[in-house]
Symmetry: C2
Subunit: 449 residues, 2 copies
Amino acid sequence: VQRRWLVELAQLLAFPTISSEPACGTALQAAARWLADHVARIGLRSVEVLPGPNGGAPSVYGEWLFAPQQPTVLLYGHFDVQPVEPLDRWRTPPFCATLRGENLYARGASDDKGQLFTHLKAVEWLLRTRGRLPVNVKLWLEGEEEIGSPNLATLLAREQARLRADAVLVSDTEMAASGRPAITYGLRGNLSCTLEVHGPTGTLHSGRYGGAVLSPIQALSDLLSGMHRPDGRVAIPGFYDRVQTVSDDERSALRFAAPATAFGQGAAASTAWGESGFSPAERIAIRPALTMTGIDGGITGGAGGAIIPERASARLNLRLVPDQDPEQIARLIARHVARHTPPLVRSRVVFSGAARPVLVPRQHPAVAAAARAVQAVWQTPPAFARSGGSIPAVEALQRRLGVPAVLLGFGLRDDRIHAPNEKLHLPTFFRGVRTVARFLDEYRREQAR
Amino acid sequence: VQRRWLVELAQLLAFPTISSEPACGTALQAAARWLADHVARIGLRSVEVLPGPNGGAPSVYGEWLFAPQQPTVLLYGHFDVQPVEPLDRWRTPPFCATLRGENLYARGASDDKGQLFTHLKAVEWLLRTRGRLPVNVKLWLEGEEEIGSPNLATLLAREQARLRADAVLVSDTEMAASGRPAITYGLRGNLSCTLEVHGPTGTLHSGRYGGAVLSPIQALSDLLSGMHRPDGRVAIPGFYDRVQTVSDDERSALRFAAPATAFGQGAAASTAWGESGFSPAERIAIRPALTMTGIDGGITGGAGGAIIPERASARLNLRLVPDQDPEQIARLIARHVARHTPPLVRSRVVFSGAARPVLVPRQHPAVAAAARAVQAVWQTPPAFARSGGSIPAVEALQRRLGVPAVLLGFGLRDDRIHAPNEKLHLPTFFRGVRTVARFLDEYRREQAR
């Protein structure tokens, strides 16, 4: 069985479902079709490829609703992935899943194709061995998570009835450590933007004009450099105004759940940087961040390019914490950039991927069921953690449809998600399948108490 | 005749001789071969393709030495060109010379294939019509000017005897205005470098690590931003130490030669930026500059790329004035960068294209001859100007071989050299040919005085 599962997963991983790449639209369609077929074959009903609103990527729906009186769990995952640059750093091609030792290497192996597969295989295994599931199950697999789920609001409005459930199970987060799953109860919000600076209306010779025309690269560097203070805090006025103070009790509990030593391993950065007054793990879990993720302008290859370019641009990614609001933060950034753009160039900020931060209830029966499942399969209680990542659907389902989320992920800190040589640790994956199956059993039992 | 000249020039322009592009080595060889054939056909002798030292691009040599008792003029030009990015801004393909109105559009049309062609056609025309030249002529066409002539010192040492002359004529500079040639007596020196910043040893997820790991893009922005002061001066300690003060008389004369109105036209930048206390034209002509010409890091395309990249890099181009020394400036920059690199990242600076600034004598007989030629052909005296550009060969020929330069260029300010849609103004080109021929006559007459 295990061999067949990996062959199937490798097939899913082969679709280059990079949602930020317009040319990959076909791959997203094909992957959705493949998933719909697969999901129908393992026994779900009413399977459909739901078209993406506004020409966005499709999603996949399926259900099994033959457990009357029992609660309904919505299983959520996403089959789109991040870009693969820099391609030359991959040991094997990103869309050719490759087994090395205990790991399967491919883009999406952990985030999130491998993790959503734990749901599919748990459902398949229960239906094969028992012919039925302990609770009602709905499955919804998204194709735009990595670009911030831009069409989510429209989709939820349209599919409100279909997606209604008592809880949503999401496996798209990290474990506290190898061998110890975490239940994540906080996710940071998200906001991305492109900051463009336009200088001269044509490329200029840097000898003939250098010293008398401001390079847009210099203006952009000044703008970027002015976004942090020397103490690591974001320098945009009002940025911290709505940030919730986290209690000492919660900080202690989080420190216990995520020991500081775990941090350095994945980061591959020996010393940590950031806002003073907080530990590295806290800077990620409970504090907002502004990160520069890309920059581009002029000519950098080779020894030529003695020019003043017309434009330069940078990509910024912000992670927000309760109660920061992406729309308000966007306004603060736009105002800050406009105020600090020198009169000799023009700047423009284009925002995308807005998602609110979210805290999920820890006292829900589904959370108790997840904790019992972890104890049973892993012989340890789960850690309760807050993640620095964002899953727009979690916040939207909770706020718009009132469906609380159980974030029970099987990613490891060294899975290199979003990076070259992403991988899935297979022993963890197989135990993850068992944990999801056990969760469905425990959720039925919780309800019976 | 004019039609045939343009067909020949279009053939030369068709070679994609981008010296900064390793893949263009073949094109440089082919262009050198084409030029050698052409130069032999118009009547020069001892024509040779000189191999480039250290595997560099070849150059082309030819001579006509049948004017005993007369001085020898070395005609210099370069047949390599700048890169063509951004390619989508070209109205017609950069290596397919296209005639529109009075202009011929192609990369290199003005810098410097079109201008070096004024020399070739002047020699051809004199030899066709008279069977001889008024003075001895040597011709040397270089293939590495646009990357800062990295093998020049080796080549000059090897070819010292062959390149010896009484003066070198260079047409690789701008006119003061349309209809008024300039004799350029100052060139800024050059120095380029790549500044790399290395952060985490692997790409990281900006959600899982944002706020606790310094993005190399941020560190690079801080470094770049710290390189200028708010008043437009370069902030690197010692940068201005060896800068010569230019006398008020010379500043007045330059102001007269290059009216301020001329500046804005070419720059396509309505307001000028730069060091306070100097006019835009002065910032280019008599003051040094540090210009950011390229920047690159992370992922900028599309909405994805929520990462902290491993590295970011920028290209800087410096223009130096007498008596700044590129090697000393390189040391100052390296020290400044090392001192300001935060401990959480590593930085590296790689220098290239060092060329010293140069002032050429204005009282040489060849300069007087050039001024007379301009008066005769253009009915106006030339302007005496200092250029912000650099031509490494001019400084090297003067300093190493004692050959003073006459910089008599036929470029127009709106030729868009180094930029998309570079062009050559054909009426100016044809008058340039006549001016070069007249210069050779006048130089003989000057000697006779």
